[in-house]
Amino acid sequence: MTESYKQVGLSEDEYNLILKQLGREPNELELNLYGVMWSEHCGYKNSKLLLKMLPVKGERVLQGPGENAGALDIGDGDAVTMKVESHNHPSALSPYQGAATGVGGIVRDILAVGAYPVANLNSLYFGKLEKAHQRYLLAEVVKGIADYGNCLGIPTVAGEVHFDDAYEGNCLVNAMCVGLTRSEDLKTAFAKGPGNSVMVVGNLTGRDGMGGASFASQELTKESEENRSAVQVGDPFVEKLLIDACMEIFQNENVIGVQDMGAAGIISSTSETASKAETGIEIDIDLVPKRESGMLPYEVMISESQERMLLIVKEGKENEVNKIFHKWDLHAVKIGNVTDDGMIRVLNNGIKVGEVPAKSLTNPPLYKKDIIKPEYLNYIELLDYKDLPEPDNYNKVILIMLDNHNIASKEWIYRQYDHMVQLNTVVTPGSDAAVLRIKGKNKAIALTLDGNGRYVYLNPEKGSEIVIAEACRNLVASGAKPIGVTDCLNFGSPEKPDIYYQLYYSIKGLANACNKFNTPVVSGNVSLYNDTEYGSIYPTPTVGVLGLIEDLNHITDIKFKNADDCIYLIGNFSNEIGGSEYLFEIHKFVKGKLPELNLDIELYTQNAILEIIRNGLVKSCHDVSDGGIAVNLAESAVTGNFGIDVSINSNIRKDIVLFGEHQSMFVISAEKKNENKIVGILKKFQTKMSYLGSVTDEKIFKISVNGNEIINLDLAQISENYKNSISKMF
Amino acid sequence: MFKANIYVTLKKSIFDPQGKAAENSLVTLGFKNIRNTRIGKFIEIELDENDKNIAFEITKEMCEKLLVNFNIETYRFELEEI
């Protein structure tokens, strides 16, 4: 026994703690249960103390972290639930199934809080598409997300895709789901009421994803490539039935608690629901419906077979529950009871095979590691602009920028996702944020999922502030007030002090910005150990932000709408271009100082933009982000199918003006007659705008800087580069 | 007991873009001397039936009723004693 704790991923100290808590040696089953439950994936032992920095409360928060998903009040008794989760390691090994089951898992989290899933989003990071294996990964991941999400009838409405060598050996696949329900119908994951029944519903239990939870907490190696049984196989058809059956079940009060069976399957769902309710659970694994014969007790307990949920059902109501599942050709099987002794007791055909306190499983030791500033941060911000020759042909530069896969249209990807089903998607993928109307109400929600690993790498704190600011800017440009956040923290191994530094300062930055924008973090997930033999990934927090639009007339998108509308710039130029796509694509540098962000100015500007949108003064609105103003203008021109004639004045370098990723900056188009009203509103928010030019019928894209025309291209050419860059790789 | 190994393939006259895509990829990988790559389905079914003739008839009926779409597909099968 002495060495076997290592095989389940526990340290000697942890093992000693278990001995102390149990007052005896655990048997093999019990040790395995601790192994999965005390892994980073289930127990958050390395990150939990840091996560306490994040604001989690607010007037709209109905349910914060700790439940299957967070929930926010959007008025009229309506609640929006949301959560983002990583499926990085499974996707690296089996991209199709990994991505598909990632969607399945997050959808069940939303279902488990009693909400109907109304939108999926995803955030994907790969190595560069010039490499065949990365193209394979992208194609398979996208197909996995599409096949699973499309079958469920949940629209995949927004997301982001990045390509950078830093993710070559360890792609990131973060899936987010958003649900809608009434506040009073929210479900929680409490195993209340001793004597009540514990039922497992959905698919049969097999050996899928054996040890997936502890597996996700180890670094990827050649050996783990062999370990493919750790990958689960998804069945979206059964998941869809599970959704429909659960929605029907939730209409009455027979179900007291619900928990998704995700990582670590039965053991995590039973111990978490019991632990929260201060109860215990006794189950008999013999009663668990299995797909394979000869499964060992611990295999049944930690199996990650997909499309299963744990229900806590009122005593005596089991048949009623089963009847509804039966209607949907599913089964609901009683596997045990809630008890009052705080223990998770596992029986096998009536004989006790293990017994541990529920709370001991769900309260792993929490670690605060040493924080050491990474060596690279001492010089990475140094950038001498003399090393950057100014381009002599800006036509060429903008075409290269639009052809860059990080900037180019992601249509090849989102065309494969059904983004229209459920009839709510007012603003479809390809704009700043997706907008979904709430049927029967004069309101809508806006959604975005965003990250910027390169920025966070260059400056973990500032970069993370920018990630939140940029996501909120996307919502504001769509006419929405940001109201809450869900985050997925993708980092390298926390055992490395410099990575732990990135994690610490990144969370600090997220907290700074969330506090400023009054956007509490209501749910999230941590994915550590994203390391390969090439090193760690860029520290990559991805943030899903929810915005509320209180009048359907306020819904705004990025497309230019009419010729002769005026184009205005709101915000100030920054002289810094560190981490920009321009610096990376044209000069091949990943260094320099990030563009300045002042959170106060950001908030004023966002409020100003919202106010002018709410006054109906704006035709289109688009925030400046990757690729700067030049790309911003091109996106609005191409998607609206109009030319532009724009002139920018500034005393900083032309390339920095055009391609710098200036913070707190928006481009709007509006009718000339509204100019004075807009200026008046901006003044109230201490914000100014400058006139850039106009939208034109002529399909020409023209930009002058300080009176010199430096870009003059046919819209068709701009469009060709922007729209076909990714599709032509396949 | 018998196991039916059923092969469902597209009729010769039906264009098979999947086969074409696989073939193009194989050619790119250096397999130059190949042609007519066609992708079909392989279905295995265990039949609780000891009479081979009956097993044959049942399999044929399953193909005709559900497993094959005769507008575009054709099939053949083998029975293997298990």
Binding site: K143, L241, D329, D418, L423 | -
Partner: protein
């Protein structure tokens, strides 16, 4: 007018059709459960889009054996109006109510996109609110929408004006470059020879409101309602 929308397991567009008919058009609408073998008591039956039975084996192949389909076939035989949208179209071809087969898109990918269609004629009960030659926007969302039938069948469809919608561009051009999925003759929607069964891959319910893309699609439902009144 009474509409019935069939729910097969994973008919995930059934609610969308229900919403358009009952909330936008104020029609008496109910769901029909796939396991039901009661006679159809509505005026119109809609087989919605979705992934009935997970689209496993072949799209629509399993759904056609649901008990309700015997009733639908009986209903159609008596002249009842039946519309199959997307997966519903696939079920109709699998069950023999419409000729042909919907094969995998030639691009081998799922396509979800706005899509222009040319209305070939307005003689049909399903298209009388349109003008012949109208170009409408009606989104597609499918993996298997590549309509195929043998030459003989296609000739008959053409000759009998059974082709109601074809894929085109915004100017109504029907050719290979405006064909999203490889369908023979850009076929997007057909009716049976009697004219009471329509199958189409595009989703008219997805362009039934101005706030979502446009409301070109709602005229299809309005055509039916008008012909009834």
């Amino acid at each position: 007018m009474k509409f019935g929308v069939i729910i097969f397991p994973a008919s995930n567009c059934a609610e969308d059709c229900y919403y358009v008919l009952s909330s936008l058009l104020n029609q008496n609408t109910k769901y029909l459960w796939h396991k039901s073998s009661e006679a159809i008591d509505t005026d119109v039956v809609i087989l919605s889009g979705g992934f009935s039975f997970g689209d496993y084996l072949r799209c629509g192949a399993i759904a056609r054996f649901s008990p309700v389909m015997e009733r639908v076939i009986e209903f159609a035989g008596k002249g009842g109006l039946v519309i199959g949208i997307c997966n519903g179209f696939q079920i109709l071809t699998e069950s023999g109510l419409l000729p042909g087969t919907l094969m995998k898109n030639t691009c081998l990918k799922f396509i979800c996109s706005p899509q222009y269609l040319k209305v070939e004629n307005n003689y049909s009960v399903f298209s009388k609110k349109y003008n012949s030659g109208d170009v409408i926007n009606c989104p597609i969302a499918h993996n298997e929408g590549n309509y195929f039938a043998d030459e003989n069948t296609i000739n008959k469809l053409e000759k009998n004006n059974q082709i109601l919608f074809r894929y085109c561009d915004e100017n109504g051009n029907v050719n290979d470059s405006t064909n999203p999925n490889g369908s023979v003759n850009n076929i997007a929607g057909i009716i049976n020879i009697e004219g009471n069964v329509l199958g189409l891959m595009p989703h008219p319910e997805r362009s039934s409101e101005k706030i979502l893309l446009c409301d070109d699609g709602i005229k299809l439902f309005k055509s039916i309602i008008e012909s009834y009144n």
